[in-house]
């Protein structure tokens, strides 16, 4: 790869179902944003979903995707023109009508939009020669009659990764010739994508809301739609709660189906349960990081918990083959509610959380490296084609120096003005001191003037008294006596 060429903007599209209420999809997107941004200098990232910002959800983190728009060759051409590479991530649908409930739209609307044509066929082999499309941690259902579509679309692609072995097998059975990697759920990398101070802040928020204990917490998420299993799960947790008298179960609902179960579990556990309201991605991450253990039927939640090095077990009450296959995301799979406490204690005691997290992270990072390399190469060649070749090294160096000078200028400017204001403070201080000294002196002068006036008045009074005394008849008549007394005193001294 040409080093200079890496400076050209790299325009990557991330496609997926990021506009539905799904913690897993939100986690994948958050991880991809973070991991690609730190791998690709000059990354320009755009995300696309079936309805995008027309179906914004609370899980989109305030950055809703753009809508695919109805599928058409023109629309595909536009996207191929606007992007250098595409990463299709998370759940992939092959049946458009099946998406209708998630969007609250009539099936025919989804069929008319045909989002699966974006997610499966991508840009088509011709356009993908210039703008490669990769699958990352794709969740693939049984394609049924759509198998030929998958085979045709995926076979020419160089990077295809799926979330479990079964999906790989299904692709092979469908006739996909491309090499297919299996990677854990990317939610395992969430810890790196959210700042630690944010996690701390959100945990304090959850506690302030009364949704999370100050002491030990066990987080339970799902299984969706199994309200009937809540009493059994509560019973299964009882031994653990008996052993840990301070522990509280946090019954979290991350999707509409989860909520009913969480409510039922919280009711069954009584005062040993906390039932949070609506949570953000950051809240879920904070709750998992702060917990002593996690019980979940969500592969994404289990992977995130493992990423935070927390003991996690997958609760598979319905013998769901996909959970079985995704077992590497959690330390253990439990099929009976009564085994929950023992399984959680066992994985907690094993103390292998760090190894599990590292084991999940390694293949994900390897796959992300491949995606980044693909995008950078595509960006470089397409950047050259559209005439936006990166500047040469000298120009880059000049730009770097200019940026450094600008930064120095700003710093220096701010320093100077701060000094000026400090000097202004001193000037004002000395003015104030001078003013106060002047005021004090004036006050003292005024006091002294007053004292002098008082003394002068007193002297004048005494003078008047003296004059009055001198003017009395007694004083005049006794003049001879005073003279005589004076002589006598003088003779006595001699």
């Amino acid at each position: 790869m040409d080093a200079a060429a890496t400076r050209a903007p790299v325009r990557v599209g991330i496609w997926g179902l990021f506009d539905v209420e799904d913690f897993g999809a939100a986690a994948i997107l958050r991880v991809l944003r973070h991991e690609l941004a730190r791998r690709i200098p000059g990354l320009e990232l755009r995300t696309f979903s079936p309805l995008g910002y027309d179906h914004a959800t609370r899980w989109d983190g305030g950055e809703p995707s753009e809508p695919f728009g109805p599928w058409s060759p023109e629309r595909v051409g536009e996207l191929a023109e606007a992007l250098d590479a595409v990463v299709v991530a998370g759940e992939v649908v092959v049946d458009d009508a099946g998406l209708a409930p998630a969007y609250g739209l009539p099936p025919e609307d989804l069929v008319a939009r045909a989002p699966s044509r974006f997610l499966v066929e991508g840009l088509g082999p011709e356009l993908e020669a210039d703008c490669p499309v990769a699958y990352f941690a794709a969740g693939l259902p049984d394609p049924g009659p759509h198998a030929p579509r998958l085979a045709a679309a995926l076979s020419p692609r160089s990077i295809v990764s799926v979330g479990d072995e079964a999906a790989r097998d299904r692709l092979a059975a469908a006739g996909v010739a491309a090499p297919v990697e299996v990677v854990p759920h990317p939610a395992a990398l969430l810890p790196a994508a959210i700042r630690p101070d944010v996690l701390d802040r959100r945990l304090e928020y959850l506690r302030a809301m009364g949704w999370y204990p100050r002491g030990e917490a066990v987080v339970v998420v799902g299984p969706a739609g199994r309200v009937d299993a809540a009493p059994a799960v509560a019973e299964g947790l009882a031994p653990l709660l008996a052993d840990r008298p301070g522990a509280v179960v946090v019954c979290a609902g991350l999707a509409p189906g989860d909520d009913a179960f969480a409510d039922a579990l919280a009711r069954a556990l009584g005062d040993r349960a906390h039932r949070p309201g609506a949570l953000t991605l950051e809240d879920v991450a904070a709750a998992l990081q702060g917990s002593a253990g996690v019980v979940t039927s969500s592969v994404a939640v289990a992977a995130a918990a493992a990423g935070f090095e927390r003991p996690a077990i997958l609760l598979d009450l319905d013998a769901d083959p996909r959970l079985e296959e995704a077992a590497h995301a959690a330390d253990a799979v439990v099929r009976s509610a009564r085994d929950v406490a023992a399984a959680l204690e066992k994985v907690a005691a094993a103390g292998s959380a760090g190894e599990v997290a590292a084991g999940l992270a390694a293949p994900l990072h390897a796959e992300l490296d491949r995606l980044a390399a693909m995008a950078v190469d595509a960006g470089a060649s397409r950047g050259a084609a559209r005439g936006s070749v990166a500047p040469d090294a000298d120009l880059e160096e000049l730009r770097r120096r200019l940026a450094a000078l600008a930064s120095a200028h700003r710093t220096r400017g701010r320093l100077l003005v701060a000094q000026r204001w400090r000097f202004a403070d001193r000037v004002r201080d000395s003015e104030a001191r001078e003013r106060r000294t002047r005021d004090e002196l004036e006050r003292r002068i005024a006091d002294l003037e007053g004292e002098r006036a008082r003394l002068e008045a007193e002297v004048a009074g005494k003078d008047r008294e003296l004059a009055t005394l001198l003017d009395t008849r007694t004083f005049r008549y006794t003049a001879g006596l005073r003279r005589l007394w004076g002589r006598l005193r003088g003779a006595g001294r001699r």
Binding site: A56, G62, D197, A278, A406, H409, W421
Partner: protein, 454 residues
């Protein structure tokens, strides 16, 4: 009672978040104002913190089109906002107090300000008292953690409060922030329970990430302050939470300006302009519109102020300049105005002898550090103007002349550069002269690619 009918867009641009604790009548008026004056696709989310006066029930029964969350207890303002933000779907969060009545056009102005500036993390509007006077035109934070709302009690048409600038923080009474930014920062910190100072804390966190809070004066709300907590209760809470703020942000606060007092009134303007790279004042009797707009454009990180020495300009001119971020000052006494801004300005541009006559005597005492640029504006009409011009020329670092006669005259007096630009336009010449004197302006703007994501 008629229900309050709010609009609820399926794809909202903004989510308007309101937290209530009592004060139903104020809240009702606030929601009606939202319904009446909000012309951006939006949703309204109201969290009631277990109001003791039945506000929660009234919200549930008498408000249509809003998401209403009734908390069983008062969890505090910050957590309740976080709670509302967790269910929000808009790209922007508009935080609104339940005793704040938004004025027409408020939201598009705030949204536009956030969309236009990538270095802006939040935007705050102008708050008015119920009597129509100004309550808050941006807010400043001092080194001791205390704060100052600018413009308290002032005439809202005063041009001093009508231009946009970087505020130290924005009161959560009426503030717009990107939802992604709010969530990325972890929302409001629960350390400030039950209320007050969480908005200052958030602004400091944004600042750490290189994001500023912008004051947008054209967006306004009438705010009946302390309608739910009472002024005494609020003062106690503010003081308590200020202690938390001081302990958490001791380092950041230490670098800030000390609060103004009787001896140091200049600190108010210093605090307001602390984020500006340079401070340029243009003194001119009539509106030098082109010059001011060009200076604002070429020196986007500087404070550009027009000292109107010929009396108050018309409202249209003030509005146009305010929109470009130019401060218009119309002081009764220019000398006192300059003295209140001791050592404040980096450059003083004097457009003609009339302007020089008003300020030149005070320059040496109050702004000795400023580079002075003098531009001739025709021959002075009388001897006093001529004297002022001579003083200005002796002080100037740069003189812009329109003809050779002016150049000869200036060259005898001016220690700095004297140039004739008879044909060039004055705004460009002034920009060039300021650049020559070391004012980098947009040349020192951060290189592309370093701005945070929108």
């Amino acid at each position: 009672m008629t229900a309050v009918a709010l609009s609820s867009s399926p794809s909202p641009v903004a989510s308007i978040l309101v937290v209530t604790y009592g004060g139903w009548e104020w809240c009702r008026r606030a929601l009606e104002a939202v319904a009446r004056n909000t012309d951006v696709p939006h949703e309204v989310i109201v969290v009631d913190n277990a109001s003791p006066d039945g506000t929660g029930e009234r919200l549930r029964d008498e408000v249509r089109g809003a998401t209403v969350i009734l908390n069983p207890r008062n969890v505090g303002f910050g957590p309740a906002v976080n709670q509302a933000a967790a269910v929000a779907r808009g790209r922007f969060l508009a935080l609104l107090n339940p005793d704040a009545e938004v004025q027409p056009g408020w939201l598009p102005l705030l949204v536009e300000a956030l969309r236009r500036r990538r270095d802006v993390g939040a935007v705050v509007g102008r708050l008015l008292n119920v009597d129509g006077s100004l309550q808050e035109a941006g807010s400043l934070l001092w080194s001791d953690g205390s704060t100052l709302a600018l413009g308290v009690g002032a005439d809202p048409s005063d041009p001093a409060y009508r231009f946009s600038f970087s505020s130290d923080y924005g009161s959560a009474a009426c503030l717009l922030i990107r939802r992604s930014t709010f969530l990325d920062e972890g929302g409001f910190d629960a350390a400030y329970l039950p209320a007050y100072c969480e908005d200052v804390d958030l602004a400091l966190r944004l600042r750490e990430r290189g994001l500023r809070v912008l004051y947008e004066p054209r967006a306004a709300a009438v705010h009946a302050r302390f309608a739910s907590s009472g002024e005494d209760g609020a003062a106690r809470l503010i003081e308590r939470n200020r202690q938390v703020l001081r302990s958490r942000w001791a380092g950041a606060l230490a670098g800030r300006i000390a609060p103004p007092d009787e001896d140091h009134p200049h600190r108010t303007v210093a605090g307001r302009d602390a984020d500006a790279l340079d401070r340029i004042v243009v003194a001119a009797p009539s509106t030098p519109m082109a010059t001011l707009l060009e200076l604002a454009r070429r020196f986007p990180e500087d404070r550009v102020t027009w000292l109107a020495t010929g009396g108050r300009p018309d409202a249209e001119a003030i509005d146009e300049l305010a929109e470009a971020g130019v401060e218009v000052a119309v002081p009764e006494r220019a000398a006192a105005w300059l003295d209140e801004r001791l050592f404040h300005f980096s450059a003083v541009v004097l457009l003609g002898a009339g302007a020089a006559a008003v300020v030149v005597d005070e320059l040496e005492a109050a702004q000795p550090q400023a580079e002075v640029v003098y531009a001739f504006d025709g021959p002075p009409r009388d001897a006093s103007l001529r004297r002022a011009e001579v003083t200005a020329l002796r002080r100037a670092a740069s003189v812009v002349c329109a003809n050779e006669a002016e150049r000869r005259f200036a060259s005898e007096l001016c220690p700095g550069e004297v140039r004739v630009d008879a044909d060039a336009d004055l705004p460009s010449v002034l920009v060039a002269e300021l650049r020559r004197l070391g004012f980098a302006g947009d040349l020192a703007a951060p290189p592309a690619g370093t701005a945070p994501r929108p």
